[in-house]
Amino acid sequence: MANPEPLHHRAAADLRFIRDTMERAGSFTAVPGRGQVAIGLTALVAAWVAARQATPLAWLVVWLVEAALALAIGGWAVARKARAGHTPLESRVARRFGLAFLPPLAAGALLTVPLYFAGMVRLIPGMWLLLYGTGVMTGGALSVPVVPLMGMSFAVLGAVALLGPASWSNACLAAGFGGAHIVFGTIIARRYGG
């Protein structure tokens, strides 16, 4: 007859089970890895095209088109991963993720208008990266650990774009919306799927 499991082993296993269950119940795991890689690739193309524009308006239009494209890819990828992982997008944790992630993005979109009309286009790339990074960090607090780290990298690039020479702005956008999405998207896809 097999020896019964010692009580303290069972207690430790129970504590691990409780911690794992609580983590899974409180985490939004539908952050898409491959979707981010796709967004990163389109952002690299956008950065290349935007750098060749003659006017600030043309530069802005390129990035606005990229933002719309990224939103469409991201929305589709999140919905797809959520469906596959049986995480309804109307679940409490998904709503909390959305409420933490989206307001900084909305603020960035709104600020773009007055900054452009005030002729302060030079500040827009840093502001976009900083606010997107803030959204990813706050939303990422409800997701897997690599997501807040990704947000931090965007925020750092935003700070570099704001404080560095204006000529770095487009490179920072390419490194953030392109490079960081590809790097962290690959990590998320490998570790967490999707």
């Binding site: 009580l7 129970d14 119940a25 049986h86 944790v93």
Partner: protein, 122 residues
């Protein structure tokens, strides 16, 4: 969703009770949440707030029937409350941890930690 009547009512051996320990009183194990699926339900609700039947089923990787039986058992013990609503004309069952359920989980956690501490102290 099918509700099984297989869940038995809590018996006198289920409630947490105080038993004489070595010179002091020790709290006996709460058998209502000691069972793995029920422990999972209580833990998930403690972290996730209100969760639907489907969310809990997928999170705990269990079957409809199994979850139904264990959720009913927790309801009968007063550890979870259940609400039923229609979302887009689809019936949806939501579960939430009651204050008694939260206290039961805290007691259970204390109990498990005490067991581990007692082993380490030997």
């Amino acid at each position: 969703m099918a509700r099984s009547g297989a869940a038995r009512r809590p018996g006198p051996d289920d409630a947490p009770r105080r038993t004489p320990g070595a010179g002091r009183e020790a709290v006996a194990l709460d058998r209502v949440i000691h069972e793995r699926v029920r422990l999972g339900i209580v833990s998930a609700l403690a972290a996730g707030g209100e969760l639907t039947f489907t969310e809990l089923r997928d999170l705990l990787r269990t079957t409809d029937g199994n979850l139904s039986v264990h959720a009913r058992r927790l309801e009968e013990a007063g550890y979870v409350s259940c609400t039923k609503a229609f979302v887009d004309r689809v019936p949806q069952t939501g579960y939430r941890l009651t204050p008694a359920g939260r206290r039961a989980l805290e007691r259970y956690l204390d109990h498990m930690e005490a067991l581990i501490r007692a082993t380490r102290a030997r």
